[in-house]
Amino acid sequence: MRDLTTPPRSRLERVLRSGRFAVTAELDAPDSADPNDVYQNALVLAEVCDAINATDGAGANCHMSSMGCCALLTRAGYEAVLQMGCRDRNRIAIQGDLLGAAAMGVRNVLCLTGDDVSAGDQPEAKRVFDLDSIQLLQVARMMRDRGVLLSGRKLRTPPQFFLGAVENPFAPPFDWRPLRLEKKVRAGAEFIQTQYCFDVPRLQQFMRRVRDLGLHERVYILVGVGPIRSHKAAEFMRDRIPGVWIPDAVIQRMAKTPKAQQAEEGKRICIEIIQQVREIEGVAGIHVMAYRQEEAVAEVIQRAGLLPRRPRRDWDRISRMNRMDQVIQTTKTNSVDFVHSV
């Protein structure tokens, strides 16, 4: 963790520093070229979270790029978290994209390796993986702190990033995961987002080790959570999404529930997990993910008692809503004008 006397680099960092339990949410990038599709989702999420995280080809499926989503979000004044994966870009593209994102006002970057192409809808694609997530972290940190590209060439204005990384406490090798987290912190991670948590005891075990290493004082840890839509969705996630671990107890609890109430049960499980996670020492917040169910995310956050997110004056909110309406109106009529309207 950085010296707290230095100014925070992003709003998310400010929230985390304040010690408030932070909430970030995942925006599912649309399969569309229409900015409204991003804004419609963002409108729901923005009111219930501190930062919106745009996925970068999640599950190796092609969607609008994280860059594109984040550029749209920052234009409308939202706090965005850019996901930067290593699957699709080599080091040249990565550094270029980081500069571009910084120029678009993105202050939070989440560095990850990325799901393999074989998990997605275009398994014939070439996997790149030129850098790995830890190397990516260090490259981004060097760009920021030393103001140089990997080649050593100087940047006129270095990017100001609050750097994040991911960790999966629910995948083997379990005893190495905390040490690997330490490696990520050394490479430059300032916040950590975990994979979906459905197994609180395992998370507790992981966090115990993290506290032993003193890592909870060096990095902010956001635990990934999310409501499951149905029993079938739970089985799909467990079997098909890489790295997601759902214990049998949770699957059975979903299976026992009648079909009509499964969505509700999924939310209830999620809320219970959030409440248990909040009690764990060293957890700085949660990251809520749910594929294409923004309303469910908002409901879960509200019912978990995590609202309001920001003590915001009414006029601020109203002006923002007005501005959003304006943005949507203009984009509807002319998407070129939109660039200049915000």
Binding site: C86, R87, R91, L112, T113, D115, D116, S118, A119, R127, F129, D130, L131, D132, S133, I134, Q135, Q138, V139, M142, M143, R146, V148, L149, L150, S151, G152, R153, V166, E167, N168, A171, P172, P173, D175, W176, L179, R180, E182, K183, R186, A187, Q195, P242, G243, W245
Partner: protein, 165 residues
């Protein structure tokens, strides 16, 4: 092996050797000393043949034991004597988040995760056990198919880009 991927190739006897990494650690130190002495002499006699011999013998020997992918910058001793280039994502700093609950690879379900094995083996090592914590720099792709022994002697394998650190 069901899969066609070159990362999943495993030769007979090789797994046993890698599961006893203390032997390999010693072999590494010995071979390093021998090669550093022998290669400059060989190079003076016939540079092209010396290089060819190094590449061939490395391909055969390391290919058999480690399924070496000839990245030309060997870090086996810091990865539990398990070749990280056998990871389909070419990760050099540890496992991805997609490791299956049974410890197998996300990409090749039949293959145990390279990094799960690397971690277990590194714990058995005496000399280089802690080297797995080192942050490995990005792979220099220009060294592909060169002999890692030669690049090591010439010091090219540890050269990092100026902006790295």
């Amino acid at each position: 092996m069901v899969t066609h991927m070159k990362e999943a190739r495993r030769m007979p006897g090789a797994e046993w050797l890698k599961n006893h990494p203390r032997w390999l650690e010693r072999a590494y130190l010995l071979s390093k000393r021998a090669i550093t002495k022998a290669y400059p002499v060989m190079k003076r006699i016939h540079p092209r043949f010396a290089n060819w011999l190094m590449v061939r013998s490395e391909k055969v020997l390391k290919g058999w034991v480690f399924n070496c992918q000839m990245c030309g910058q060997c870090i086996l001793h810091s990865t539990g004597m398990t070749c990280p280039m056998n990871c389909p994502k070419n990760l050099r700093n540890g496992p991805c988040g997609g490791v299956r609950p049974n410890g197998h690879c996300e990409v090749i379900p039949e293959m145990p995760c390279v990094w799960v094995q690397a971690w277990e083996r590194s714990q058995k090592m005496l000399i280089f056990a802690d080297d797995i914590k080192v942050i490995q720099p990005p792979v220099n792709r220009t060294l592909q198919d060169e002999s890692a022994w030669v690049t090591m002697i010439e010091g090219r394998d540890v050269q990092t880009p100026k902006g790295w650190g």
